[in-house]
């Protein structure tokens, strides 16, 4: 008897990781359209449009500079505090946008997911990519300010060889936000307890990720176990590294870099596995 050729099988069995890359590739146009939808629809019927992307980081930087640097006397070395904060916030914003955008994938899209099949991972991927545009705009305004400070305020701006690692940092941030977001999204389909946590956890996480202060200050002023915690936090490595590349301030170690890259890849893979296991049945429990 001839062995029958089946295109695919729908069954109850779950393999540990079954990412069908061919299928995701087939749906690449959908990915692109989702990205376009996210970008186009956010600022429809606004007058300033994408300029709104700039307001939030600029105001936050001003507030941070007033609170932490002027009032709290946190030293940022030779770097102007405003630039220091803006760099940290720009990077942090991208990470949190990816995290919060992907962490409610299942609940937010239950309507579409309940009616039609496409590789579910397209959704979080599209969020990560569309946030890249927002990040690009914010990075652009950051660079504008860097030039402003170096021309008018005598800030000695210099890039270093590590700036070449810039794309790697973006990928690492995306992987980390995406991985964590997918895990949270999967974990909150049935029991929603975690959802309550995510909101305030991300805003608290910022303070242990060295966003408004350099790691050296943390070493000096925090109890040592908190300083250890801050340094072990992979997001600290990213934020600190990001500032090191663009403003040549802070420290960079290959160990810290390597550790962060490995951790982000692990988080991402873990996220994929959990996401894959959840996507099959989540519609019954969401």
């Amino acid at each position: 008897m001839k062995e029958e050729q089946w295109l695919y099988t729908i069954s109850a069995k779950r393999s540990l990781i079954n990412l069908n890359f061919k299928e995701i590739w087939r749906y690449r146009d959908l990915l692109f359209l989702f990205v376009k939808r996210d970008i186009v629809t956010v600022y429809k019927q606004t007058i300033l449009g994408p300029l709104w992307y700039l307001i939030q980081p600029l105001f936050t930087s001003v507030v941070f500079t007033l609170v932490f640097n002027n009032m709290g006397n946190i030293s940022t070395g030779a770097t102007p505090p405003f630039l220091f904060n803006l760099a940290g916030i720009t990077a942090w914003n991208y990470f949190t946008a990816c995290l919060s955008g992907t962490s409610n994938t299942f609940r937010q899209n239950a309507g579409i997911f309940g009616k039609v099949y496409f590789p579910r991972v397209i959704m979080p991927l599209s969020v990560t990519i569309s946030n890249l545009l927002k990040f690009g705009i914010q990075l652009f305004i950051f660079i504008v300010f860097v030039f402003y400070y170096s021309f008018f305020k005598g800030f000695n701006f210099s890039l270093n060889a590590y700036t070449l690692l810039f794309p790697v940092y973006i990928i690492v941030m995306a992987l980390m936000g995406l991985g964590l977001g997918m895990i949270i999204s999967s974990a909150t389909t049935k029991y929603r307890d975690l959802k309550v946590l995510v909101g305030f956890a991300t805003s608290l996480l910022m303070y242990v990720s060295a966003v408004p202060y350099p790691v050296s200050e943390a070493r000096k002023k925090f109890p040592s176990w908190v300083a250890d915690l801050v340094e072990l936090n992979p997001m600290t490595q990213i934020i600190e590294g990001f500032r090191f590349m663009l403003l040549d301030t802070g420290t960079f170690t290959w160990f810290g870099f390597g550790y962060t890259v490995v951790l982000s890849v692990i988080l991402f893979l873990l996220g994929l596995i959990v996401f894959n296991r959840t996507e099959k049945n989540f519609i019954d429990t969401v």
């Binding site: 089946w6 295109l7 695919y8 109850a12 989702f34 939808r37 997911f113 496409f118």
Partner: protein, 427 residues
């Protein structure tokens, strides 16, 4: 040889009843505990039959149980069943929205599902942008959509508004646009849930015509779920009847519809022989009224325009002259208007042979009534319609449910209502 494109093997789906809370958490732990020890899920052995009208007996129910069937290439398979019989669950599993608890589905073609029109429409995007987005969600590539976009826009009939955000559309226009995208899908297997009854009459006709093209002209494999027996009969080539999560019948679409309707015998629970609200001298009493289709199967629903036989059982209490018997059978709507009347003397029929039988029958080759529930009023009199001659008169001796049908063969269903539609022609 049959070219099987889709094979469904032992598909079952279990659902948990009640809400998600601590109870379900303890079950989850127990399930996890069994799994890490390599044991079977303990909750798969239990579970009630999916009968929504019964009180829940446990925490689990089987929405589907051991479903097996095959679909050949080019076939149009209709899935019919009552609300909650498992039709939608089956479609969800087929379209990979959820996975089965046990069993396997193997397919040789790509499946696209239309469980809803306009999935993913974004109100801020223009009609054109939404066509692209919705098409991509349904599995088309951008170039495929681009090659069909003019056709889609024309089919939708929304040319003027195509570059306006869809939030400015009327709901009918949105549905037209959404259906237009869906109608231009070209998967190997198309799964459709009752989305035909959308839009205005003109668009409905267009939509049903398109469905017929897809299934007959283009030779596509289609799986179609509907409550509408007339459209199942006209669109499908085979039918499956689901009941309480089990497959009850697989056969040609006509047999399946017939089987389904014969199972629906719920209207005529009233026991006529025990009724006392009668008029007449009771020399004879009507004691049972049954309906049959052309295959002698007992039914309580019939599609408008189809064959119907009514059998009336008589109990003989005293002698009567059967040759002079006067009998009228009326179809009465819920406002007491007569929809149709069959009267024996007008039709030149006499009841001599009732002497040695206990029932008589009325055969209606085509029941030309609009869809509604009609009560059967039976009047038996000794010779005419004068009240002093009445033998037995009973209202609502039985109820017959007339389902929507396509009497004029236009591909469009007749409107429901309480009246007859009789043959005729416009010139």
């Amino acid at each position: 040889m049959k070219n099987v494109i889709l094979k469904v093997e032992n598909i079952s789906k279990q659902y948990r009843l009640g809400t998600v809370g601590t109870g379900s958490l303890s079950h989850d732990f127990n399930r996890f505990w069994h799994r890490i020890r390599g044991k079977e899920d303990p909750y798969l052995k239990i579970g009630a039959v999916n009968d929504r009208s019964k009180a829940a007996t446990g925490a689990y129910a089987w929405a589907l149980k051991d479903i097996n069937f095959e679909v050949a290439k080019g076939e149009v398979l209709g899935i019919i069943g009552k609300n909650g019989a498992g039709k939608s669950t089956l479609l969800k599993i087929l379209s990979r929205v959820t996975s089965p608890t046990t069993g396997e589905i193997k397919t040789k073609g790509r499946i696209a599902s239309l469980l809803e029109v306009g999935t993913g429409f974004h109100p801020e995007l223009t009609g054109r942008e939404n066509i692209y987005l919705n098409g991509a969600i349904l599995g088309m590539t951008k170039s495929e959509i681009a090659s069909k976009i003019d056709e889609i826009i024309e089919f939708s009939g929304c040319q003027m508004y195509i570059d306006t955000p869809t939030k400015r559309y009327s709901s009918g226009m949105t549905v037209r646009l959404a259906f237009a995208v869906a109608a231009h899908l070209e998967p190997d297997i198309l799964i459709v849930d009752e989305v035909l009854a959308v839009g205005d009459a003109e668009f409905q006709k267009k939509a049903i015509g398109k469905m017929q093209d897809i299934s007959s002209g283009e030779g596509r494999t289609v799986i179609f779920v509907s409550h509408n027996m007339a459209s199942v009969k006209s669109l499908c080539t085979r039918g499956i009847v689901l009941e309480n999560g089990y497959v009850k019948y697989i056969g040609t679409q006509n047999d399946a519809v017939e089987y389904y309707l014969s199972q629906q015998n719920t209207l005529n629970k009233i026991n006529v022989s025990e009724r006392t609200d009668r008029v007449g001298n009771q020399k004879l009493t009507v004691n049972k009224v049954l309906f049959f289709n052309s295959n002698e199967v007992e039914i309580s629903d019939v599609i408008s325009g189809e064959f119907l036989k009514i059998r009336v059982y008589i109990k003989k209490n005293l002698d009567v002259d059967f040759a002079k018997l006067f009998v009228a059978i009326n179809f009465v709507d819920n406002e007491a208007n007569f929809g149709l009347s069959y009267i024996n003397d007008e039709m030149g029929y006499t009841f001599e042979n009732l002497e040695n039988k206990d029932f008589f029958e009325l055969i209606i080759p085509n029941i030309y009534l609009r869809s509604a529930v009609y009560g059967i009023r039976i009047l038996i009199s000794e010779k005419d319609t004068r009240e002093e001659n009445f033998i037995d008169v009973i209202d609502n001796a039985a109820l017959i449910n007339i389902l929507e049908g396509d009497i004029w063969n236009t591909g469009k269903l007749n409107r429901p209502g309480n009246s007859a539609i009789l043959p005729g022609k416009f010139l």
